[in-house]
Symmetry: D2
Subunit: 261 residues, 4 copies
């Protein structure tokens, strides 16, 4: 069965900005979905902010293996309830790929627990992406380095937790460096942040970028059934303890009572 990917796009600059519209007539999300669908192992569709429930009703998320997230201008317009819903699905095992300016999206900050801030410059300079973990599944088929001719500079310090693994580090013409490809796990869900993707340059048309995203989707797809009850805190009473014990001393909770939360 192919991996079911959903590319979520903010779809604001895609419609309002002439440059972006010219580069991505059907929206960036559609360009990304098309490039994922070039792999026979992936079946990608799209969702956008302006749709009901931002295109992410619970039933759809439940059938999504990997979500890709591109947002920039209106992070604040994303409904907090949808953010929590997405986070809950990640914990259960849905993979998520956060793209470019998504570093400041509610969902990425929610999953990281840090500000996810960085420095930036929009000067059309060259970004050179270095593969520092060449046998990681996300780097499959990727050269030791590849250039993005025009890119927005994202620079360190990048206020993220220490990654599980660092896959790519970028060099910028203007003199900066950036951890541009990093992985995490939160609950059962695999997370990949990939920095390139500024909307006024044709970055998602570039083959090596497309390959990274196909690899990332393949890597992030769960290989286990959903951890459906990960948010529960089940009581295991005395008579179900793996080792025979008897109750001693005082207690707070009546038998069968749920814990506080």
């Amino acid at each position: 069965m192919p991996i079911r990917a959903v590319v979520w796009g903010e779809n604001v600059h895609d419609r309002e900005n002439a440059i972006v519209k010219g580069l991505y007539p059907d929206g960036m999300h559609q360009c990304i979905a098309d490039s994922l669908n070039a792999s026979s192992g992936i079946e990608a569709t799209t969702a956008t902010l302006e749709q009901p429930e931002h295109g992410l009703p619970q039933a759809r998320l439940d059938e999504t293996d990997v979500l890709l997230w591109w947002g920039h201008k209106v992070h604040g317009d994303v409904d907090d309830a949808i953010v929590e819903r997405v986070a809950a699905r990640v914990w259960q095992g849905m993979g998520i790929c956060i793209l470019h300016s998504g570093h400041f999206s509610k969902i990425f900050k929610r999953l990281m627990g840090t500000p996810c801030s960085l420095t930036w410059r929009e000067a059309g300079e060259t970004e050179r992406v270095w593969t520092v973990n060449p046998t990681h599944p996300i780097a499959r088929g990727i050269a030791p380095w590849f250039d993005i001719e025009q890119s927005e500079m994202y620079g360190e310090p990048f206020a993220i937790p220490e990654p599980l693994e660092t896959v790519f580090i970028s060099w910028f013409e203007g003199g900066e460096v950036f951890r541009s490809g990093v992985t995490y796990k939160r609950g059962a869900g695999r997370i990949f942040y990939f920095a390139p993707g500024h909307e006024v340059y044709p970055i998602y048309h570039q083959e090596s970028v497309q390959q990274v995203l196909r690899n990332a989707v393949t890597w992030a797809a769960a290989d286990a059934p959903a951890w459906a009850d990960i948010e529960d805190a089940p009581n295991r009473p005395v008579d179900k303890a793996p080792q025979p014990i008897s109750e001693k001393g005082p207690r707070l909770h009546a038998a069968g009572e749920a814990g506080y939360r």
Copy 2:
């Protein structure tokens, strides 16, 4: 200068439950603060939920090196704005020690980005705390293992991110295990979660527990000035780039404009 610690207590069971009141006539927070003050290097005070701003106005947090957090019954009553304020101070460098049932506090879940769920049983059984990282600063002076005669069982799976370092793992009489002492960094802030501390047992009167908390406060105290602007995403324009570059190609932002967030 001594480390300025604030012990935050929910202070509900401490006043409402006869057993807890008997064990901690001045509240658990006061007992913990007293035990910290036994160290000449720490100056501990307390704050509680029912105080204005939960006893944690910005000015006080700004002068706090390490916050200890004990909550259980009314996690939901903690004001979201205060949670954000505490998280922001952690990112800037304030240490935080999350105690026992605080695994389900808003602030711990906020910093972890995971559900922080676990299994539990309240049977007054023995918990044996094993030191798995014996030369970690938090384990200073702690024996290879120590017993808590009566404890609430907290069991795996504990839905937390992979720790930076695991310091303690607990064995339970009823047959479970638990990663009972784990560390993280989020921004500049050091985080320690310590599991023992159920309110109906005299756990915070136990010397080895007190020693762990003194060590944890000493470890978590920042040794760097606050990272005050960690939430900013500063633009570094072309004329300030470390390497001389000239602007190329299209752009989205007018010069001097702030980035989106």
Copy 3:
């Protein structure tokens, strides 16, 4: 193509000790290989210490996806050159699963860079293996916990580097805990240490242990071509630099000279 696994057995107690011989008439390595071959995706063979080159000539290692290693009594008899050969293949991408007393094998200590010491007791006590990372590929199909009725106690502190991920933690009847299933990466190679497996008990006949090993082999098998030149330190001369530069200042090495090592 099935994963090519080789189960390496020291094969000393298997032949010399009546109890072990009774439990594993064809040797422990054969029992493990048989249980791996129960999976259609794995093709397992065996190698033993007493064979020429310990059964691990370079050509065979080159065609091995995952090596499993069981040794105990005569770690010191393993040829250092073979250890280096195995390490080199791990760096290139061969997975390796270190079993039980293999914690003190030359190859595990070589890959960890630590003493890998622990405490132990041989009393036939119960070991309860807890799954702390239930959606990790190595835990697929494994219950929240399973018991090994008779086991050798291995206890903390276990002198290993902080794991990439902790999958299992064991509880012992005699009161200890142990990180019994941990993962690492060294170069391109994935490493899994699994503690249960003392030779005088029928542990490798137990279904849940067999399932863990099948999962581990599947997880450890490389999904990338070998990183064949990982030990090289290639010079990238000025005329091959990604960014045009000219040579400046003094230098130590003549053009084309290899680096020191």
Copy 4:
């Protein structure tokens, strides 16, 4: 009591190469030691390859808090027994800072368990060191970035285990990036690798480099008594088990017998 640091220098190019001799008339090790001694909290001495036992007899190591290691041309001349001795002291708690070409030293490879390979170019190009973890103790007082006007390029992929924390990442004029400041723990010992330090450039005369090394020594110094028996694997017999148990079933070892290794 000041931290007792020993700067180990290979001392070959320092005597044989006119450029190096000109830059470091007393040897690089002496220059580094002098810069450490500028801190009142550090007391640094030197040791070199040509001395008996490479200047590192056991008694001296036992009184060393932090060892700094600079080698390049004759890594192979370092006695394996001394390497093991140093590794053992690191496990017990001695800090170690590996400098520049020491990435290929026996001791660094021993502690990492990986090839520690990289790409390189000797062209006198600019290296820009970025602080990616600005509140790490090793970055204290270090600017967001600092330039080394002439440096040897060290480039990714750097075949090291995923670091405990990444403190610095370097940008190179010729287009590469490199994780130039990374930390590890092995046993009780803290390890810091710092890349800048090619011998034909005056890098150790640069204030920011000296500050990094002073910080690193301060960070790496143990704050716990030595873990003297870390290589032991003590038996904890039935009558010393924390939980009362009785022996069951067969066993391999006679009572009181030492384990195999």
